[in-house]
Symmetry: C2
């Protein structure tokens, strides 16, 4: 069972099925917190959560939950986000008065939405949830903006494809579990750490990787609110904790950092179509 | 004249007035692109744009526009984002059936919105714009979620204060102009650069600062979509391009990078209440 935030037909579910196959059992949850709790408590074996988007940056809320829970990252997948307008069979764009979707999806389609006359965009808690509501309530005056997967699940017809303003929109999802994954092909590792506020502290922290030829894949500083000179760093690098040079680098980093948390080592993810 | 995206009463306008005083003349624009064009063409002297949020991370769209235009960052300010429910005088929470706001603001208030029964959240193009619409159309069935500034501008009563789910929500705004600013107190500098994809390349790039004791304030890698091994880096560091060691570090970085763009040197910004 794979927990995800959203309704059946959500992008997270799509990402889960792209990784684990169409027969994988998935568990929709209302919030990210519920997703993390489902795996922590054993009600789900795995979770899939969005962590980074090519237009909006990192999802700090998910990093906060990663730090608050003791789960391991065991995999990743990158999904191209494609958004379509969908409605009940027989409904045309001319008869649509309201378009429902998740606030962020509406934001991603703002150019399309502004081009419409007499159509109101309505924020709904979920993209797939808006498709579900239109099917359940048999709304002939409304459409949803959601994925092809949502159109399939709720038997809606796609009225207009790819209404997202930016077509190079990818979301990276992480797979989480209670236990770490064994080495399996080319691996990467994600950590969060903080360093003392002294000049060159970050440079020294990165030196522990460079000196051992461990290649960095992502780095991001996040200022701690209310503590203007303190930062958390998100770091992804090539290799696994099972590699000798990675273990040595992490031991070395421990000497330099005020806080360090290894989120997991996992195989490099593929990019799949949304 | 200071261009910003949104309607009068928007957080960007609030940030502009916090920096330049309440009598500063501001120019509302529909899109970020229009904001950049207004300054580039000389129709506005300055622009103010959000670049980073403590919950949602960096606004890549603004960085893209910074790279596409030849403007200079000349200042910054950090604004605490506070969101309130507001309506026409006489309207109470019990009579509100619809709540309008910008999709992202609705997302930031999802906990509050889910706690309501029989109230629909409606996505609008702007927080302040939703307050404006309620005043203009004399909507007694609706409320807006926006800033105190919007309540003041459109003469709405605040029905419920601070409905945002996370109260530690700050947005960092940049001030842009056609010409760079002169040194004025403690300065910082923002750059964007790319390095060759060789192991340790980023480490060497950061060495140019560490070797000269230039302190890093923000670092973020952004993968280039479709080019899995290429990255842009956003970097902020202490000091001004007028400083000898900063000039030397930037000359040194030029040797190592495939691309470099200096976005500007500007005074460290204050944090103000939203």
């Amino acid at each position: 069972m794979i927990a995800y935030q959203g309704e059946p037909g959500a992008f997270s579910e799509h990402a889960a099925k792209a990784l684990f196959g169409n027969s994988a059992r998935t568990k929709p949850c209302e919030s990210f917190k519920e997703v993390f709790d489902a795996v922590s408590s054993g009600r789900a074996q795995r979770a899939i959560v969005p962590v980074e988007n090519s237009l909006f940056g990192s999802v700090h809320e998910v990093y906060d939950l990663l730090l608050a829970h003791k789960l391991h990252i065991v995999g990743e997948v990158k999904l191209r986000i494609q958004l379509h307008v969908m409605a009940l069979p027989g409904v045309t764009m001319n008869t649509v008065r309201l378009i429902y979707s998740h606030p962020q999806a509406l934001g991603q389609c703002d150019r399309f939405l502004r081009s419409l006359n007499g159509v109101q965009a309505v924020a709904y808690y979920d993209t797939a949830g808006s498709a579900k509501m239109i099917r359940r309530e048999q709304r002939h005056d409304a459409a949803a903006i959601a994925s092809t997967e949502a159109a399939r699940v709720y038997k809606l017809h796609i009225l207009k494809k790819n209404v997202e303003s930016n077509h190079r929109n990818f979301t990276r999802f992480l797979v989480l579990a209670r236990r770490p994954v064994k080495r399996n092909g080319s691996m990467k590792t994600s950590i969060v750490f903080a360093v003392k506020d002294v000049p060159g502290a970050l440079f020294k922290a990165l030196a522990v990787f460079a000196l051992r030829e461990v290649n960095l894949l992502k780095i991001e500083s996040r200022p701690l609110v209310g503590r203007p000179w303190e930062y958390l760093f998100y770091l992804d690098f090539a290799g696994s904790q099972e590699d000798k040079q990675v273990r040595q680098a992490l031991n070395h980093l421990q000497e330099l950092s005020t806080f360090i948390r290894i989120l997991g080592s996992y195989p490099h993810g593929r990019t799949v179509s949304g």
